[in-house]
Amino acid sequence: MDDTLAGLLQVLFLLVLLAACYAPLGDYMARVFTSEKDWRVEAALYRLVRVDASSGQRWPTYAMGLLGFSFVSIVLLYLLQRLQPLLPLSFGRGAVEPAMAFNTAVSFVTNTNWQSYVPEQVLGDTVQMAGLTVQNVLSAAVGLAVAAALIRGFVRANTDRIGNFWVDLTRATVRIMLPLSFLAAVGLLIMGVTMSLRSGVDVTGLDGNTYTHPLAPTASQEAVKMVGTNGGGVFNANSAHPFENPSALSNLFQIFLMLVVPVAMTRTFGTMVGNRRQGTILLSVMGVLWGALLAVAWFAETHPTGAAGIATGAMEGKETRFGIPTSILFGVSTTGTSTGAVNSLHDSYSGGAGGVTLLNMLLGEVAPGGVGVGLVGILVVAIIAMFLAGLMVGRTPEYLGKKLGRREVTCAAVYILVMPAIVLLGAGLAIALPSTLDALSNDGAHGFSEVLYAFASAANNNGSAFGGLTVTSDFFQSALGLAMLFGRFVLILAVLALAGSLAQQKRVEATAGTLVTDQPLFGVLVGGTLILVAALTFFPALALGPLAEALA
């Protein structure tokens, strides 16, 4: 079968799988966040930590809970890495150095999973399982909680309560992340992903020498890495490693896993606001964007210029097991969600395809975005779009029955502002430092793309690396660490404030003068706003990086 046809069939199969899960998973998640009943294990947990599960929280309380929880998570994860020599199953791998430990702790708690370390050399099984995997689950649950709070802001009226963070976190963990990850892990095991607590296996190479090939409890980590749109691999090669991603089937399954929760989240939204078309229209914006970026990258990668053009395609940096189409499919999906797992080296993509993965993140990761936060991102864009559109039809702008006034616009503006600020200032600062030039493996436009990509990935909590940039210097460890922190928590604060402000409002009744938001025109509006804002913000930076490369 020819590569393109196989690729198209895989895309089709992926879409069918997602469509099948859309309604059941979406509605299930809606029930999780609206149900009055606690599971027994949850009730026990609430008693243990003395949380009154029945009480709602104001947004500042909710936010304090979230920030406090995340702060403690970072500290614990940092300590775990620093104290590694004392832990079992550490295989003699020593204490992680402070800058790297900080970067990694922040990275996993912010759902970024940027990895400045080589996992199989630096971390033992205890830190992997008790530290990273736990944060993979919890950081995704935090994302779901934020989305639930924002949706409640739209659903509720005349109240200052947006839910209970501890309840949302617990339910997202117990009822969504854990069961899904378990199922996914079983699936991956069946497909041949390894699972072992041994430090490694000795193999005799063709040259007669004996090599120790590291092993890890891969399948369990791999599952939550994808389902929680985390992306941090247990091996440095990430999903290109045969122990993490052995076959075309497991590859497709992984792509499905990272897309399924963000996609179904739009259904959750539609169900919770009582109009499912509201969700499907947002999904269609995400879908069109994903499809368009996939098409561009696919085309660029199969029509390379230069030396690679002489071969039948740009295979540099790709696994022959996957080939071009599925590598691109993986690349577009991992940068469109906040996953950041990779099965190919984005650095080696052609200018066009590399630019697509970069642009995908710079759009704010909404195609379809990270667990929970993808929906949040597109809702914020929808608010900006509806603000302008509302003015253009001569009414105080509103969305889903809530007026978009000073507070709402301020929150949305902060949300829109923070990510570009981090990316542009970070990349600008980094490229001005002489030390950066040493850290780059390429010069010219491509070198700049590498730096821009690193900050885009960190600020958007993606975690994928373009590669080619050595990020172990103290500057990059801390700058990217801060980028991840601000990119995650300033945005979350803005969203929670937005949720609080929306929930306080009374509901405005829809009339014929109200703009409908479940029709294609609205989709065009949101998509257009999204692209225009990102294009205008990043056009100059992109011109000096991938654009200069692609047009050359």
Binding site: R395, T410, L424, A512, G513, A548
Partner: protein
């Protein structure tokens, strides 16, 4: 009152004589615009302040290292700031002209108090009672507490016909500056001098007390955020460009920044707001705050008084129905006779009907004029004429039938039917012989049903408020095409209705004039008090209509919408413009570093310098070009939200993307002629 729906109601965007924009206004406002170059004035507007700072930087740079390009750029950047000032100054200038007209009413007068002492008009206090006699000017706003007088209010309303103002009732309010034409009244002052409606409006249109409205604040925040994003993008560009091998000059970076930040809307924003108030004043409506004007655009429910708004003020004869063996001509002749001497509006309308439909003489003949007139009284409820032994009468069915002793099932059936249809039946009899009936009905103003259909398309519900009984109210409501009606309405009913609507999340507008309307006017999101109404009503509402035309509510809603649409459309246009500017400036900046980026120069601009200068010139000129639009407001046609959005997205979104490509290309054709470009 002449403003009725007989004439097509002007769309809010239609040119009004006083509102037409003349280029000469630009020249006239130039001194004010120059004065606004002061940094303190610029700080009010974050977007333009950034341009101002940029202009200073580029000027300094041009002084330190002079070049033609640098100076041209500096000059055009200052033009950008100046044009923004000009937009605001023109709007304010027009406002000042309006204010001047209003102020003319505030001539200083001497007030004569009831106790015989005198006070200057500006020293009056609330509660003072002043005496005004024919020929004198009323010294301040107040209520007539004694007497009745005709008053010339043309100074504020422009309406030359004098109006009657009397103590008690709903026509007791008088405005300072108007002149008493006859009789003597005692006025109790209800507003402190300097705080009257006119004073507030003067302050508003002059821009002195202009406060940003909620939507304006939200928009300013969004524009500020965009400005910050672009500022960061440009600042970060410098190290990136340096890495690529060529740091940019400050001049070029400032040019890029100014082109990117939303200067078009930033420059026009306050002009749009002032012009919105201005359009209201042109329609003789005074608003207490800009917030009220904005709220008008959001109105979901309009409470409209039936009389005067939906129907003509009085009932009119619309049909003659003969009964028994009488012919319609016989009936018409008798009906005319019975009404000849009847000077009530209803009576006159009967004669009119007989004249127009049946060709009878409109005037009484000599004989008819001598006949004895039987006037209508509350007791008899019958009027008519005794002429040549004939006793022609018309009147309420019950009374007349009882008086004539005739019983007719046919008549009773008609009476029932006419009442059911919302009309009032009058029976006509000649002696003992019942000839037939006259149908008096409320005549719904022509075009009003279409108007309500338009409102419905805009998402606005119309509610008719009337004192009529439910049956009549229902019939008229059906004919006028309102969405709901309140029959036998008391002021309490109105208030309750408004509260219920608001609890359902809807915004309500209403008009009112009586003191007992005051609570409802205050409760409504937009309460328009009639100028003829009481001071309490005017105080409670947030607008006053000097023409006392309840239909104007619809125009007010349109003006509110137009204000928001203009802001939204120009913001969209402004942001959409950026795309072309990128295509002009980025290749100019980077083509030397990465020749491949020269491909972005899709407009084929002459040189990097001419490209940058052309973009800056376009950016400045577009402000001037759009000033008339900002002042006039974007054309508004009542239609559904989706249709409006589609149209405005097409015109201002897509248009905003395309226009600058053309504009910059054309400007570049000229700029390249400058030597050295």
């Amino acid at each position: 009152m002449t403003t009725t729906l007989d004439r097509p109601v002007e769309s809010a965007g239609a040119p009004v004589k006083a509102g037409a924009f003349r280029p000469a206004q630009l020249w006239a406002s130039l001194p004010d615009a120059l004065r606004k170059l002061h940094p303190k004035a610029q700080l009010r507007n974050p977007v333009m302040f950034v341009v101002w700072v940029g202009s200073v930087l580029v000027t300094l740079d041009a002084i330190v290292s002079p070049s033609l390009f640098g100076w041209l750029l500096a000059i055009w950047l200052w033009f950008t700031v100046l044009f923004a000032n000009l937009a605001e100054a023109v709007a304010e200038g027009r406002g000042k002209a309006q204010a001047e007209t209003l102020r003319r009413t505030k001539r200083d007068t001497v007030a004569r108090l009831v106790d015989g002492t005198t006070k200057g008009g500006t020293e009056l206090e609330i509660g003072d009672r002043v005496v005004v006699v024919a020929g004198e000017t009323i010294p301040g706003d107040g209520d007539v507490v004694e007497g009745i007088a005709t008053v010339d209010e043309s100074a504020i309303t422009g309406e030359s016909a004098p109006v009657v103002r009397e103590a008690g009732g709903d026509r007791s309010s008088v405005t300072g500056g108007t002149t008493v034409l006859s009789d003597r009244i005692v006025v109790e002052i209800t507003t402190k001098p300097g705080e009257s409606f006119v004073d507030r409006m003067i302050a508003l249109v002059e821009g002195a007390s202009r406060q940003k409205t909620p939507n304006e604040i939200a928009l300013t925040i969004l524009l500020a955020a965009l400005t910050v994003i672009f500022l960061l993008a440009v600042v970060a560009l410098q190290p990136m460009s340096a890495y690529a091998g060529g740091p940019q000059s400050v001049v070029v970076l400032v040019a890029l920044l100014v082109c990117l930040i939303p200067t078009t809307i930033g420059a026009l924003l306050s002009a749009i707001g002032i012009a919105g108030m201005d359009r209201l004043v042109q329609r003789n409506v005074l608003a207490k705050s800009g917030r009220a004007v904005e709220a008008a655009g959001d109105i979901d429910t309009l409470l409209l008084d039936k009389t005067g708004t939906i129907t003509f003020g009085n009932r009119r004869a619309t049909e003659l129905i003969p009964v028994g063996d009488a012919t319609v001509v016989e009936l018409a002749e008798a009906a005319r006779l019975s009404s000849l001497a009847d000077q009530t509006p209803e009576g006159r309308s009967v004669v009119e009907l007989c004249t127009t439909e049946y060709g009878l003489a409109p005037e009484a003949s000599a004989e008819e004029a001598r006949a004895e007139f039987v006037p209508f009284t509350a007791q008899t409820r019958v009027s008519g004429l005794d002429i040549g032994g004939r006793r022609v009468r018309k009147g309420a069915a019950q009374t007349l039938l009882a008086a004539t002793g005739v019983r007719s099932d046919e008549v009773e059936r008609w009476v029932q039917l006419i009442s059911d249809e919302g009309g009032t039946p009058l029976v006509v009899a000649d002696g003992e012989r019942v000839l037939g009936l006259i149908r008096l009905s409320d005549v719904v103003k022509p075009g009003i049903a279409e108007r309500f259909a338009e409102l419905r398309a805009m998402g606005i519900r119309t509610v008719m408020v009337t004192g009529d009984n439910p049956r009549t109210a229902r019939a008229i409501a059906a004919r006028a095409g309102v969405d709901d009606h309140i029959a036998e309405a008391t002021p309490e009913d109105k208030l309750a209705y408004i509260v219920a609507e608001q609890e359902g999340g809807r915004l309500v507008a209403m008009t009112g004039d009586g003191t007992n309307d005051a609570p409802a006017l205050a409760q409504a999101d937009v309460g328009v008090a009639m100028n003829t109404g009481t001071a309490a009503a005017k105080e409670a509402g947030n607008m006053v209509d000097l023409d006392s035309d309840p239909t104007k509510l619809i125009e007010i809603v349109e003006i509110g919408k137009q204000l928001l649409i203009t802001r939204g459309a120009l913001t969209t246009f402004s942001v959409a413009n950026d795309l072309a500017k990128y295509f002009a400036i980025l290749p100019a900046m980077f083509a030397a570093l990465y020749p491949s980026l020269g491909l972005l120069n899709v407009m084929g601009l002459h040189s990097p310098q001419s490209a940058i200068l052309s973009a800056v010139v376009f950016n400045a000129l577009i402000i001037v070009v759009l000033i008339p639009l900002a002042l006039r407001g974007v054309r508004y046609r009542p239609s559904s939200a989706s249709a409006l959005l589609r149209r405005n997205l097409l015109v201002y979104g897509l248009g905003g993307v395309v226009t600058p490509f053309l504009g910059i290309f054309l400007i570049d054709l000229l700029v390249r002629l400058i030597p050295g470009m």
